[in-house]
Amino acid sequence: MAQPLLSVRDLVVEFPTRRGTLRAIDKVSFDIQEGEVLGMVGESGAGKSITGAAIIGLIEPPGRIAGGEIRLRGERIDNLRPEALRRIRGRRIGMVFQDPLTSLNPLYTVAQQLIETIRTHIDLSEREARARAVALLDRVGIPAAARRIDDYPHHFSGGMRQRVVIALALAAEPELVIADEPTTALDVSVQAQIIDVLKEICAERGAAVMLITHDMGVIAETADRVAVLYAGRLAEIGPVRDVITAAEHPYTRGLMGSIPTLTQTADRLVQIPGSMPRLNAIPQGCAFNPRCPEVFGRCRVERPDPIDRGSRRQVACWLYDTAKAEEAGNV
């Protein structure tokens, strides 16, 4: 396979606190190919947002990347100096946040914010940047874009504002867009439209998308592949069809159970009892072991690394360890 657009290897993110260091992300690895849509799912607190923040270098101190590498087209970006990283943000990696009501600066018009973003990254005159901004707004579906562009954010509804946010994230034509729960704060009636706009416009420009959500329905319809995070660790990653129709990790199976539209019968709905452990109370071995219906001895002692399961699919669960079991015996 060709060189991936984004490659995350053994990423570790830590937050030093008074009561010791919290590991929010613990050795997470995944790739995103050119133009691909990678869905990222997991319960609230699983580390989805922190993963996104690590990629664009916006983890808030004292939090820090404590290990691993992040590469964009093979070039390391996790250890860049702040100015070099700033040039990548917006220009090569765009970001869409959850809440469109608070993502826009209330004191500037949409035009001012778009033009400022475009001209920060691309050498254009004010007039050219404005023309580009209008075209972009029009493309994300703002009616009468040429006129509305001079309005302030509070003149737009939530759905319209999220379109503006998407326009801003794409203003300098990034190769990768990280969308962190872009529809969670929106009215249900407009959620699908926003996802469609995001997906279409990224496809059109060849931009890859890392779509963070806890809505498996959205993943099923939108993503090419899906990564499942649990307690800061990668549980499973693979093509959407495979993961949805034949989830392998016991946690993923539980998650899939929570979307009735995809499973045929209601009795297949699986509930996962218990809740995700806090970062300072992650059990030894597999992080999922206290809740896992298939837990066995080894799970409580050794942490499972992701195990390759066919084409571009990995599962971090001892149930799938066959070859490695023998290896382990020899060591």
Binding site: R89, L107, T120, H155
Partner: protein, 328 residues
């Protein structure tokens, strides 16, 4: 917009009426104006006649209305102590106070905002920590103590700056006298302006810092960073502008209190302004001057408030609801 202005103006008038009532009450409850005007030897009949002539036997409301009518025309009567029209006295002292307040206000604003922004952006540096510690001293030391300390250091020990008075002044126009145009006038301003402005500066600085830290945590600042805007654009374009919205209100009100607080500074530095005039009038129970001073300070507060509200309106587009209501 128009409705907003009308409402604010009506509120201002109401406030002025209340203050006028308080000022007017001074005449009735603080000393006896007749005693203040005539000598010990005046007969009871003379006093009664004067009382009648001054309308002091009229019903309260009538007297109050007369007071307001006169005040609106700038007539506050004659000072008991100096036997001069009160308005003339005040106008002759006003430029000194306004120039002092203006300089302190501008200095307090510029340094307050500057230090506030600096300490918010460089939260952990030793410079920030020093500024914060010094600012604590600034808010906790009483004004007169700061004034006396400054006089001791700069006027007595180093003999660099004058310790009292306005220096030479130049007349500009009919009644304005300015100290800005002479060397001694400018030198004389430094110590009192610093003394008067220090408290306001630390207040503004702490406010700006707190507000800016708050703004820096908002989503739109995160999103601005995520778009790769430069630190300069994020800090001074996006964060500072949003910080200033609430700061404007407080700062404007501070300007009013600078004029009110000038009383202490003017006394310490023997600054010939309205504050010193007021202190002297209190000492001599010169009720007309006290009443006029109270009304003047209230008027300044009310006017500043009005301007601040309008500024707020100009800065924050969300308040300009005229177009917003129709859209969505």
């Amino acid at each position: 917009m128009l409705a907003f202005i009308i409402r604010r103006v009506l509120q201002s008038i109401l406030v002025m009426l209340v203050v006028a009532l308080v000022s007017f009450s001074l005449f009735r409850f603080v000393g006896d104006p007749i005693n203040s005007m005539v000598g010990q030897e005046a007969s009871i009949e003379d006093r009664a006649a004067l009382r009648e002539a001054l309308g002091l036997n009229d019903p309260f409301l009538m007297q109050f209305m007369r007071f307001i009518g006169n005040a609106a025309q700038g007539d506050f009567g004659i000072s008991y102590r100096l036997q001069q029209p009160v308005m003339e006295l005040i106008l002759s002292r006003l430029p000194a106070t306004l120039e002092l307040a203006l300089v302190s206000g501008v200095v307090a604003f510029i340094f307050g905002v500057g230090f506030g922004v600096y300490t918010a952006l460089r939260r952990r540096g030793w410079v920030s920590n020093s500024i914060m510690t010094l600012s604590l001293i600034g808010v906790s030391l009483p004004t007169f103590l700061i004034g006396v300390l400054l006089i001791w250091v700069f006027a007595v020990e180093f003999q660099m700056l004058p310790s009292f008075g306005r220096g030479d002044v130049v007349r500009v126009g009919d009644w304005w006298s300015t100290g800005f145009l002479t060397h001694s006038g400018r030198l004389s301003l430094i110590l009192p302006a610093f003394t008067l402005g220090l408290y306001q500066m630390t207040l503004i600085m702490r406010l700006v810092r707190a507000e800016m830290l708050e703004v820096l945590r908002t989503d739109y600042i995160k999103f601005a960073r995520a778009r790769g805007l430069t630190n300069r654009a994020v800090h001074f374009g996006h964060a500072l502008k949003n910080t200033m919205v609430p700061v404007i209100t407080i700062t404007g009100l501070q300007l009013g209190s600078i004029i009110a607080f000038a009383i202490i500074t003017e006394t310490v530095f023997q600054w010939p302004g309205v504050g010193a005039l007021f202190i002297n009038s209190v000492r001599f129970v010169d009720v007309p001057v006290m009443a006029a001073y109270l009304l003047l300070i209230a008027l300044i507060f009310v006017l500043i408030n009005l301007v601040v509200d309008l500024l707020y309106y100009v800065v924050d587009p969300r308040l300009r609801a005229d177009r917003a209501a129709a859209r969505h």
